[in-house]
Symmetry: C2
Subunit: 204 residues, 2 copies
Amino acid sequence: MSKKKIDPRVLRTRQLLRDALVELIREQGYEKITVQDITSRATLNRATFYLHYQDKLDLLTQSTDEILNELVEGIHSSFDGKVELDFQMNTPNEKFIFLFEQILLNAKLYKVFLTEKNMPHFTSRMMEVLTGFISEGMMAMEPDDHKLTVPREFAERYFSAAYLGVIVWWLENDMPYTPKFMATQLMRITVQGPYAENPFIKLK
Amino acid sequence: MSKKKIDPRVLRTRQLLRDALVELIREQGYEKITVQDITSRATLNRATFYLHYQDKLDLLTQSTDEILNELVEGIHSSFDGKVELDFQMNTPNEKFIFLFEQILLNAKLYKVFLTEKNMPHFTSRMMEVLTGFISEGMMAMEPDDHKLTVPREFAERYFSAAYLGVIVWWLENDMPYTPKFMATQLMRITVQGPYAENPFIKLK
DNA sequence: TGTCTTATCAACATGATGTTGATAATCTAA
DNA sequence: TTAGATTATCAACATCATGTTGATAAGACA
């Protein structure tokens, strides 16, 4: 009901605007772009822009929301209830492999949106997405707050930030490893920490 | 030699502009601010702004650099060579306590710059600062790359992103814990992971 | 004190913004 | 395939922010 048929011209126009935005951000940074620049690149009239979006920021916000909603829905529809989100040494979680694979598919776009300085909204939304998976996984592993070493929110933020940081690093370096390798490394560092002979674990 | 006497009026003007910027970002977000807004708030003429900065972004960039340079120099001068940056269970590293204390002192400013959406430059510079400490600590602990479970750069990014995420969480929630508590939690989750009975460590 | 530096102020050209109304193109459904 | 509805185009507009300039005032410093 909520999805009436959308005029294909509208979809086309919005896609053109979004593509133009991504290109221009990469070329000259988000700040310097004007609505005029975007519509010129998209071969549309400037007034047309205002039929679809309030301003530059609105275009960016809506685009990021659409992209990340697709990501989340893709994961949900592929794994709906089938895969437990547990953390095990050297066995990368399939959802995380899928995550890196999806990002790889749209690497050009993710790279621009995640690694350009001054990209409002996208990074925080991406963080929310990751927090979703991580809090889900943590609740599955340990629903009892008392058995956590640190406040739950603290841990969730710690891991989502760490994972996002790694994703950004991967993109900045032009994806030097496969999705499976990345997911494996994440499991390993999460479980074992960074040192092979784990000098951390010397409990008193 | 590089620090000639700076006219106090210049310092005053720059301080006024920086303060105005921080206030306005908090009130209406970085995007919507104009140079006119900043100079009005600072009770300065708009032309005066251009005697000191190229544009809004230049003011922001220079301000963040100054703030973070002060932070780094403060830590260096307080601990110069005295404190090893090692990671031990339940014993928070003094540099990290100091870090949280410094942020607490300028919490209003850090909160705006780190948690407002769309804050160019500051977050990435802050990340660099953290990466500095972390890579220093990791090299002290384990200079041999072969004994790492994951690529060194991967681990450095993982931890700096995680730590920055936790700092942002702390600020967003209006510093609900003391710097010492925060530093302790960071050590604990880094060393032991999030679970008290560490179910992660079930090696095959 | 006088000199140098900086701030002030008004004014200007330029360019981006957001809106409007008339017109053309394109889609959808009968 | 055609008619009616939707959307895009285009030119024009007032408004606002920008960046700069030149003349003048105020403040710092030796």
